[in-house]
Symmetry: C2
Subunit: 332 residues, 2 copies
């Protein structure tokens, strides 16, 4: 199992700090959960039924023609490589590591590609997998560029898979509107933007035939009833203004986080509304420094870097600011 953010229990044990005392910035999940609506009893009790309007709500919200609800975009990441004949798969590096692992496990030949090497390699690939914006680097890819790559891949029967898990605050970069094109698959995450990662909900946007094959592969009832009921309400038209407000607030919070890091001599190399990415040879040291103060961030080894999520409240912001100031004192 790969390491992930959100492993607060492990950190609590390792550093001997009680769970409730931590400031957990180790994930890219919005810290304030969207208000959980009342869930009808039937959603808990009955087998979830499709045709409940969830896919339609997602299509309308994301601007896509077809959507398959899945139990978190992770479920699609695990299953998609099994739908393709073994081939040469370019995977953006660094990026969310589950992609590379899933394609490798599926028997494909992996080509790990830095963003700047994709163009030169593209015509040798069967599938190109990337995240836009990328996690953890925050790098963004222009839609026109991605559509050019998609068209070139598709001409040879290939496919572009774009993980848009962190796209909600920058919808202008999304390929959702093009996702019915053959050779294009777009993943959307529900839990990150809405701060509801526990419910396991995500969507695959693609042409209908591919979604049908994925559905068959995943099997019935993969998304739970409470998640379906919640998703339907939150993504529905009544939530539109609140979703836009949330996007603006998160965008501002992301800028505040970038500013805070920069003010302490730790300017991020990139980021999104939900996280900032700090590339530094001191990553291990800073990670440990913060953890000893009960602040958990996500550490990456290659390249040596840290990902900071958003604090949930003003006390959290102040606590992070103090810790960064202390770190600066200790290291200068």
């Amino acid at each position: 199992m790969l390491e992930h953010g959100g492993r607060l229990r492990a950190a609590a044990q390792r550093y001997g700090i009680p769970l409730s005392d931590w400031l957990d910035l180790s994930t890219g999940i919005a810290p304030e959960p969207w208000p959980v609506p009342a869930i009808p009893l039937d959603a808990w009790a009955r087998l979830p039924e499709e045709g409940d309007g969830l896919a339609e709500a997602a299509c309308a919200c994301y601007g896509a023609a077809h959507a398959l609800p899945v139990a978190g975009s992770q479920a699609a990441i695990q299953a998609l490589p099994q739908l393709f004949a073994p081939g040469r798969v370019g995977v953006l590096t660094p990026s969310y590591a589950e992609h590379a692992q899933a394609w490798q496990r599926g028997g494909h030949r992996l080509v790990r590609l830095a963003a700047e090497d994709i163009e030169a390699q593209l015509d040798t690939l069967d599938v190109l997998v990337l995240a836009n914006p990328n996690n953890p680097t925050g790098e963004r890819f222009e839609p026109s560029r991605l559509l050019d790559w998609q068209a070139r891949l598709e001409q040879r029967g290939g496919c572009l898979l774009v993980d848009e898990a962190f796209m909600d605050c920058t919808p202008g970069y999304s390929l959702a509107a093009y996702s019915q094109r053959p050779g294009l698959i777009v993943l959307r995450s529900f839990g990150k933007f809405f701060g509801l990662a526990g419910i396991r909900l995500g969507f695959v946007l693609a042409e209908a035939a591919l979604l049908a094959r994925l559905h068959e592969r995943l099997g019935p009832w993969t998304v739970g009833g409470p998640a379906r009921a919640l998703g339907r309400q939150v993504l529905g038209p009544a939530g539109s203004a609140a979703r836009e407000r949330r996007a603006r607030q998160l965008q501002a919070a992301g800028e505040r986080l970038a500013g805070l890091l920069s003010a302490h001599g730790l300017a991020p190399a990139g980021g999104t509304a939900l996280f900032q990415w700090l590339r530094t040879p001191q990553a291990a040291r800073l990670h440990d420094f913060l953890a000893r103060r009960g602040i958990l961030v996500r550490r990456f080894e290659t390249p040596a870097s840290l990902r900071f999520g958003l604090p949930a409240d003003e006390a959290g912001w102040q606590r992070l600011a103090r810790a960064l100031a202390d770190y600066r004192k200790e290291t200068t």
Copy 2:
């Protein structure tokens, strides 16, 4: 996608009867849901973490050494065949059809076996898959017999997979206590007995090494936070007396259903607490007769048969009794 019970929306459309007017007996799910406890906000908001005590609660409740929580036993059914090298797999027939489909999709050679043919074929198999009690026939297998089969399979590196989705009311038949033996895998369902099929929770009981491989295959966070919180509470020691009371009540309801069918000349060929199985060449006709009255049961084509689930309340019992009496009048 295979046909399943619980497809009430489709029936409502086909028969032009509003959803809310149906008596849905098409599933084997307990009709009265276990009271849904308060779910902490963190369960919705945060990524689910293992080490939360859910596996331990399941082990204590089922009497097993090791348990892996999965998003419904269906999730394990889909994934288990991928853990085995292609082989000769005996699958009990008729039984829950997803097993056969999953092993076939996984590249194995299927041998469909009636219960009475297993003994003669056993030593030619790599894996034997059956449900105990069986769905939809209700047939029960004695633990001593299953353990003999398991030992013989295991001697040749083989495996016995027992789906105990409907075992909760007859725990004396369970192999949970033996499930750490190599070559034995036991599946338990949470939603059927507790009437909470919407949350997608089940457990795989087996030796630790196999559970680790299955976990790796399924990936992280497959069971949602609300399901984990709920499962932990419901399976915990505080619920023990209430679980036993529920088992007795469901057992009595199953006997009432068998009696009702018999009283109308439709004696079931088998059953469990949660369903009765009626084998009749009139299956299609009776299915349609009931559906035109807004009563949905599950129909099987091979052999021609119907599965009746439990009505939720006295009004439902009376409605079913009237429809069965009407059917008898029409057909005699």
